[in-house]
């Protein structure tokens, strides 16, 4: 098992390098001179030449990549064209806000999904299973950005229970889970974000449980005369590694793919930062944010895989 974990950890290195290479290449996707995309459009020719030299665009591409990677690995992701602040500072502040939202959404989604998925497997073939599976399919079919708008219409505009957008006291303030003035801003975006993982995890919990319940050892337990709830306990323990893997992936998606929801709720997280970077064509900020988010996603996946080896004894024996 430890060899497996060591291999998995080592495999993160080439993946991270590959991810960095893709992020580096993003600049070359932009039409025109990559140097021109790094500076404001009204810069003079002399300025462009200086930037070209400074960023090393006059060097061969592999050299450019090596230099960029060297700087990035030392925490230097360049400076934002819009604010002039280091990209790392911008992203790390935003990442904390996104993480708060993602964590809240994940807790809501995973708890509800496990409960509903188990209920669906328990009442197989009954009306309640039909209802739960239909709702979960609706969950993965609904555009989250639309749900966000609908929730704003209902709870912020009509009922006036919760604020529509923003994150409490000014956008630079830090978010606290122990202050209702902060938390009430997070309720709507959190619920909106929870919808997709809720549907996905519910579906996979039900499927994994149905698979397990159909296996021979469950038949033996049934023949032994085990009570239904005890049967379910065995089934859940067996389905756990599979469900855990799906949850991990969803947690990563929540952290890395929050752009639409953060844009709607103007939540000052990484997604909002990204959409600002795209609107203002702030290439260093965009590149840095994408790189940091992708690397976060890589490490969440690593953590989940390692966790999974502990949850699944079959993997430990290998």
């Amino acid at each position: 098992m430890w060899i497996y974990i060591a291999k998995r950890v080592l495999y993160t290195i080439p993946i991270s390098l590959g991810v960095s290479l893709v992020c580096f290449c993003l600049v070359y996707l932009a039409p025109g001179d990559p140097a021109a995309s790094l500076i404001p459009p009204d810069a003079s020719a002399a300025d462009i030449a200086t930037i070209r030299q400074l960023y090393g665009f006059d060097q061969p591409v592999p050299v450019q990549f090596a230099r960029w990677l060297w700087r990035a690995s030392h925490g230097d992701f360049g400076t934002s064209l819009q604010t002039g602040r280091p990209v790392l500072v911008e992203v790390s502040g935003a990442l904390a806000n996104t993480a708060s939202l993602a964590a809240g959404a994940a807790i809501i989604a995973f708890a509800l999904a496990l409960l509903a998925g188990t209920l669906a497997a328990w009442y197989r073939g009954r009306l309640i299973e039909r209802v739960i599976t239909t709702v979960s399919t609706l969950g993965i079919s609904m555009p989250s950005y639309w749900l966000g708008i609908v929730l704003i219409i209902v709870f912020a505009v009509k009922l006036r229970w919760l604020p529509a957008t923003g994150m409490g006291n000014g956008d630079a303030a830090t978010f606290s889970w122990f202050d209702w003035n902060d938390v009430r801003f997070a309720v709507l975006p959190m619920l909106t974000m929870a919808l997709l993982p809720l549907g996905v995890v519910m579906r996979s919990t039900r499927a994994a449980l149905a698979d397990t319940l159909a296996q021979d050892f469950m038949q033996v337990l049934r023949a032994k005369g085990l009570a239904p709830h005890a049967l379910m306990r065995h089934a859940l323990r067996n389905a756990l590694p599979q469900v855990l893997a799906v949850m991990g992936l969803q947690l990563g998606y929540l952290t890395g793919g929050s752009i639409l929801i953060e844009t709607i709720f103007t939540w000052p997280g990484t997604g909002f930062l990204l959409s600002k970077a795209i609107l203002t064509r702030d290439v260093p900020l965009l590149q840095g944010t994408v790189l940091i988010l992708a690397l976060t996603f890589v490490f969440i996946n690593l953590a989940v895989d390692v966790l999974q080896t502990f949850a699944d004894p079959r993997l430990q024996r290998q």
């Binding site: 893709v22 555009p143 704003i152 219409i153 505009v157 998606y253």
Partner: protein, 293 residues
């Protein structure tokens, strides 16, 4: 007497074919049939848009802005520029359907082929293809799509490119797993022992066994593609105005939610119905083909 021993004399009902079995199962799955009908109707409505409405999707009206459904013959009201909502939703369906199906079809062709090659040849080919896919797999799909189309700039081609790239890795992985499983079976070895070329083994023996699983998975991606494409144009990265597109219509009407919430919710509802239908059909297909998730 010799006639008794000839195979022609023994009447044996041939087992129903694979496609026949699937069709028969689908025939009794009314839920799936219903959603197939919804999708067929949507496609027809999108194709025949000019026949179903006499309004111009681009004609603005200064006096008839943000009117409720039923106002002066506007079946579903008007948008923030006074354009007929029903007409724009019909024309917008074209974009949503194209952006739902096209990226998945392209990714199926590219990713499926790569996965087939990786699974069939194994070794270094597998390493090269699958490890490259792992890198793209290491991006959350929304992030990758937004990053690529954000860099290229808005437009339909950029959205199409981004979405295709997003779907290739997962399709490649499914195709590779299925191919590797089939590759290990005896009949493939038998075919190779008779001297059949790799290409003919793939075409005659592997493809038919791999395609159903890959196809069902691809069908489940269409609804994701519809959602992501609408999301990109919601951010201003996909289809550009004034071309009607549901995601971009939703974004345009965002400011008007306080004035006419019902009309503003319509494009999102349309996205939801189409995406839900694709999901239900995909689930029904998976069930009929008896393929596990």
């Amino acid at each position: 007497m010799s006639a008794v021993h000839s195979p022609a004399a023994v009447p044996v009902a041939s087992p129903p074919g694979y496609l026949h079995t699937i069709a028969r199962r689908l025939q009794h799955d009314y839920l799936t049939l219903f959603f197939i009908a919804v999708l067929v109707l949507t496609v027809l409505a999108a194709c025949c848009a000019p026949l179903l409405t006499h309004y111009d999707p681009f004609a603005t009206g200064l006096l008839g802005r943000l009117k409720p459904p039923g106002w002066q013959g506007h079946l579903l009201g008007t948008d923030d520029l006074g354009r007929d909502m029903f007409t724009r939703l019909l024309y917008g369906a074209r974009m949503s359907l194209v952006m739902g199906v096209m990226p998945v079809a392209l990714a199926l062709a590219i990713g499926g082929t790569l996965g087939l090659l990786a699974g069939f040849y194994g070794g270094a080919v597998n390493m090269a293809i699958m490890r490259t896919m792992d890198v793209f797999y290491a991006f959350p799909s929304v992030l990758l799509a937004v990053a690529i189309s954000g860099m290229i700039g808005g437009g339909m081609t950029s959205g199409l490119t981004a979405l295709t790239l997003v779907f290739i890795p997962s399709l490649c992985r499914i195709a590779e797993t299925a191919t590797a499983q089939v590759r290990a079976l005896d009949f493939v070895e038998a075919a190779q022992a008779t001297g059949a070329s790799s290409l003919s083994v793939i075409v005659a023996h592997v493809l038919g066994n791999v395609l159903p699983a890959v196809f069902v998975f691809a069908s489940s991606l269409i609804s994701v593609s519809v959602l992501l494409a609408a999301g990109l144009s919601f951010l201003g990265l996909g289809v550009q105005p004034p071309t009607p597109d549901w995601g971009q219509m939703l974004a345009g009407l965002r400011q008007a939610i306080y004035l006419q919430p019902l009309v503003c919710a319509l494009p999102g509802l349309a996205i939801c119905i189409v995406s839900f239908s694709f999901n239900m059909v995909s689930d029904g297909l998976r069930h009929a083909m008896d393929i596990r998730a």
